[in-house]
């Protein structure tokens, strides 16, 4: 095997930033990803951007799925991206799921959130996205 790592996504972190206490959606996606063969690190609710970035660093995940309902995405997501950069985690794919208006989704993509999945989108879409490398080149 060569030193070059594959673009394959195997380990993912499912994180629930913000203050809302529901993590049903996050758990659904975590289980669906496990059943699709991913190793899913799950850290529970009310995660700060620092907690998320720190977990991503220690667990060396290939991708992070942010699940959000509270509407705080425009303040929280840029801070998460910033915390990841600070730790040198520039090659980690970040995607989001939850209630996010289309206009915000476009802005989030510019910030480095590779994909945004609405609340109605089937988990198979997320799985396909991750299997395709999450928009990441090697």
């Amino acid at each position: 095997m060569t030193a070059a790592a594959p673009a394959e996504i195997r380990r993912v972190l499912i994180a629930k930033p913000g203050l809302d206490g529901h993590d049903r959606g996050a758990k659904v996606i975590a289980r669906a990803l496990r059943d699709a063969g991913f190793e899913v690190v799950y850290t529970g609710i009310r995660q700060t951007p620092e907690m998320i970035a720190e977990a991503a660093l220690q667990e060396d995940v290939d991708a992070i799925g942010l699940s959000i309902l509270s509407g705080a995405h425009m303040t929280l997501f840029p801070r998460i991206v910033e915390e990841l950069r600070k730790r040198g985690l520039d090659d980690v794919v970040v995607w989001a799921g939850g209630i996010i208006p289309a206009a915000d989704a476009a802005k989030l993509r510019e910030m480095g959130i590779t994909a945004v999945f609405g609340p109605g989108s089937p988990t198979t879409e997320t799985i396909a996205f991750l299997r395709a490398g999450g928009g990441r080149s090697a």
Partner: protein
């Protein structure tokens, strides 16, 4: 936190290792992944890093799901940190044998450690490796050790044979029991009891804890203990409030002291090393054979065995002669 130079996972292992030696946590993390993935350049670096280790005290924690192992690990980590020692945690969860997927949920109980740079928590999935799990766990322990961690806690799920294997990678093994698992005699399996250096009855705030203590005491008086001269103490704890944790830390200290004074320390590590070397060998041999049999010629032979025109013993003998056992240098 100062900005850091990015370190892509495609970085060669020698770069990861060099940065790991400078206490770069990202390099440690990516080195763990590279070793776990079986990257040959990472394995070579691991050999050099091994020489830097040997200083950490390795504590294994095992017990049934939900018994409070992660909570206990967190409480222990905090106690060691209060004494100024740095801590590494390896938390193992099972992979699905069907999909290979896993949910690694131990961190949920460890979030209060998140802002302490002196603690590094890594979750690991078993990746369907029976027996092999202990090997890759030992590799991760070796990396945390080389990184300079003073104490390394390995948390494993209390099921299956891997359990006993992993306990054998530790200097001190803690077996956790809890009240309220129905048949209290079964709350700790006899086989697991034999690997215990220290017994913990967690959830001592719940009814029935005393009964578990009594049962364990009775079982201990019957069975042979692991190390002559050391009777495993039984400690009640409430991991959620840290009740009993200072006492547990003292018992771990006492166990270390006992191992050192009695000379068992070296003996135990040598015994673990023997197992580790055999395990590595097993990996090499198995992969050599698996490479060889991945051919139509051998597949045809397997079909012959299925049709009973050949027998598996003769085919195995022939395979043994065919495979040259050398270095696994790809």
């Amino acid at each position: 936190m100062p900005d850091v130079v990015p370190l892509l996972r495609s970085a060669p292992a020698h770069e990861l290792a060099a940065r790991l030696r400078q206490e770069d946590r990202l390099a440690l993390s990516r080195m763990i992944s590279a070793v776990e993935a079986g990257r040959s350049d990472a394995r070579r670096e691991l050999r050099h890093l091994f020489a830097l280790g040997g200083k950490a005290h390795v504590v294994g924690i095992t017990g049934p799901p939900g018994s409070g192992k992660s909570t206990l690990t967190t409480a222990l980590a905090k106690a060691y940190r209060a004494r100024g020692e740095t801590v590494g945690v390896v938390a193992v969860d099972p992979s699905s044998p069907f999909t290979g997927g896993a949910i690694l949920g131990d961190r949920i109980r460890m979030m209060e450690l998140h802002d302490d740079p002196g603690v590094f928590v890594r979750s690991m999935a078993t990746r369907g490796l029976t027996g092999g799990l202990a090997r890759s766990t030992m590799d991760v322990v070796a990396l945390l050790d080389a990184f300079g961690k003073d104490v390394i806690v390995v948390e494993t799920v209390g099921v299956g044979q891997d359990e006993v294997e992993i306990a054998r990678t530790a200097d001190s093994t803690i077996v956790v029991g809890v009240p309220g698992l129905g048949d209290h005699i079964q709350s700790i399996k006899a086989g697991v009891l034999e690997i215990a250096d220290i017994l913990v009855v967690n959830k001592a705030d719940l009814p029935g804890a005393q009964q578990v203590v009594n049962d364990l005491r009775a079982m201990l008086s019957l069975g042979a203990t692991r190390t002559p001269g050391w009777t495993p103490p039984i400690q009640e704890t409430v991991a959620t409030t840290a009740r009993g944790i200072p006492e547990l830390v003292k018992q771990i200290d006492a166990h270390v002291q006992f191992l050192k004074d009695s000379g068992s320390w070296r003996a135990r590590r040598a015994e673990n090393a023997r197992r580790q070397v055999l395990g590595i060998l097993e990996d090499h041999v198995r992969s050599a054979f698996e490479r060889t049999i991945r051919s139509e010629t051998w597949e045809a032979r397997f079909r012959n065995i299925a049709a009973r025109t050949e027998d598996p013993y003769a085919v195995a003998d022939e395979l043994l002669r065919e495979v040259a056992l050398g270095d696994d240098n790809e």
